[in-house]
Amino acid sequence: MLLYLLQRVLLLVATLAFASLVVFGVLEILPGDAAQVMLGASATPQAVAALAHKLGLDQPFATRYFAWLAGIARGDFGLSYAYDSPIGALISDRLAVSAPLALIAMALTAVIALSAGLFAAQRRGKRGDFAVMAASQIGLAVPNFWFAILLVLVFAVKLRLAPSGGFPGWSAGFAPAFGALILPAISLGLVQAAILTRVTRSALLDVLGEDFIRTARAKGLSRRAVLWRHALPNALTPILTIMGLQFANLIAGAIIVENVFVLPGVGQLIFQAIANRDILVVEDCVMLLAAIVIIVNFIVDVACAAIDPRLRRRAA
């Protein structure tokens, strides 16, 4: 397991390095130089040159790339051109909204999907199974943003149970801040839950058909013990793998949902930064999201190896 962990960490570092190179490199490939993009077509050549110098764009690529990396390592993400403030502080303010949103949505996804999937798998072919599958089919067909708008109309506008958008800030107290994240989290998580429910159900049904399940019953274990001790752990690796992939999806979905609910999160920051042509902010945010996705998948891999001994030796 230790050797496996070491290998995975090395792979993680390599993946992150590669991702940073891609994120940073894209800026180079953008048509025209970055300072020109920021200032727009009407800017004078002098102004463009001055901004390029200020941003260090006149330095060679390698110098700028390593300066950027070194900055990130120190926690210095550079200055935002549009906000004229440190990007690090800008992002961490936004993360205080986005991170809880993503975590609540993911937790919602996991709780709904695991219980509904378990429920359906135990009733294969019966009415309960049919109902869960039908509900998840509807969930699959509904796009995130449409569902978000529907939730606002029903719960905020009609029932007045939750705010239709905006975020009071954590300084306003836990309840109002948490309340502002509930509808966005539901609209993000429910669609993912539909997918994960199906994954959970089919993973469990696969495992329940295995010979070792019959062996476990032949030992005199109850159906319940067989399900929890033998079936579920074996179904968990595919479920976790899909959850890792879903997390990336969820982050992409969060960008849209934050805009629908007017939440000052990272997604909204990216939107604004793109509109402002604030390229360094875009770059840092994209790198952050990429890093989160990569790290989440690393955690999933390690968790799977902790569950399944056959995965520990396969790495090479």
Partner: protein, 323 residues
């Protein structure tokens, strides 16, 4: 009498409706006795064995009587079945790779029945598992911490045996326990099973499609075909003077030494109907050299034959004269 199966029928649901997979199967077994069950693949051996464990596939309809240790198993509720399984009746499965949980150490898997049935603590059960592993020929205590994928097929089957014997059952059902193993390992595993069975005075049902395995290990044998018992009696008598045309064909089709495993029993002309597709009369009618129209009219009754033998064929006298 430890086990008495009488008129066992098993109907399994299929997309085209229920199918009778096992028809009117009867046999009995004394304490400490080993009974062989032989038959081609698809003849209903596994389904019969699973019925004795109360583990028939979902939706199966079981009729007939199964008496074990004086109890009528048909009347057991789920809790009573659980108390029996793994404790009084244990089963060894054919494929030791897939029959073990890949995520648990074999020690943990052997300890499990002891925790469930004997109320042992996890620690005590693990210590017992190490002893059991030594008894089945895996004396290294580190083996208990190995995962199934770290063991060879033979070692896995030994672990499986340790698991089945952990609570000292009075009946073990071994469903083709060596079919997935190399020939040399096969012999070792069978010798181990026979030895442990003798030590514990344990009855065993040894299911096999290999007549040589049955001949070496069982005093009595049941020959199955198309979900029915074609012939049963002492192994010596059945193998030396087979009464039933199917048993005769089976013996004539026996491979000489050195034939590959897959070729065995395949030489009877025609192909075996799977149990559910069997015709209304004698399931062997399509391949039997002695078939007459009456054979297909109704299932031949189980009739006593020459001493303690029972055979299902309406032309046993003619069959005797053919040889």
């Amino acid at each position: 009498m430890l086990l008495d199966v009488a008129g066992l029928n098993i109907d399994l649901p299929t997309p085209d409706g229920a199918r009778r997979i096992v028809r009117d199967v009867s046999f009995a077994l004394d304490r400490g006795e080993t009974l062989g069950v032989v038959g081609e693949s698809g003849s209903g051996k596994t389904m019969t064995a699973l019925a004795l464990m109360g583990l028939s596939p979902e939706g199966a309809a079981i009729s007939g009587a199964i008496r074990f240790d004086g109890k009528d198993l048909a009347k057991l509720d789920d809790a009573a079945w659980r108390a029996l399984r793994g404790d009084r009746i244990a089963m060894i499965f054919q494929e030791p790779m897939t029959a073990l949980n890949p995520l648990h150490t074999i020690g943990r898997q052997i300890a499990e029945p002891l925790i469930v049935h004997r109320g042992l603590s996890r620690r005590a059960a693990m210590a017992e598992a190490v002893k059991l592993l030594a008894r089945v020929g895996l004396p290294d205590p580190r083996r208990a911490r190995a995962y199934p994928h770290q063991l060879s097929g033979g070692q896995r089957q030994r672990a499986m045996i340790a698991m089945a014997l952990s609570c000292g059952p009075s009946l073990v059902i071994a469903d083709e326990p060596t079919t997935a193993l190399d020939v040399t390992v096969q012999a070792q595993i069978l010798a181990l099973l026979a030895e442990l069975g003798r030590q514990a005075d344990m009855a065993m049902i040894l299911v096999s499609h290999d007549l040589a395995v049955i001949a070496q290990n069982c005093k009595r044998v049941v020959v199955m075909y198309g979900g029915m018992v074609m012939e049963s009696g002492t192994t010596a008598a059945v193998l030396e003077r087979p009464a039933h045309p199917y048993t005769r064909a089976l013996l004539q089709a026996r491979p000489r030494l050195g034939a590959t495993r897959g070729q065995r029993l395949r030489v009877i002309p025609g192909s075996a109907p799977s149990a559910g597709e069997a015709p209304p009369g004698c399931p062997f009618a399509g391949r039997c050299p002695l078939t007459v129209p009456a054979c297909s009219a109704a299932p031949p009754p189980a009739a006593p034959w020459r001493g303690d033998r029972i055979a299902r064929c309406i032309r046993l006298e003619e069959a005797e004269n053919v040889a």
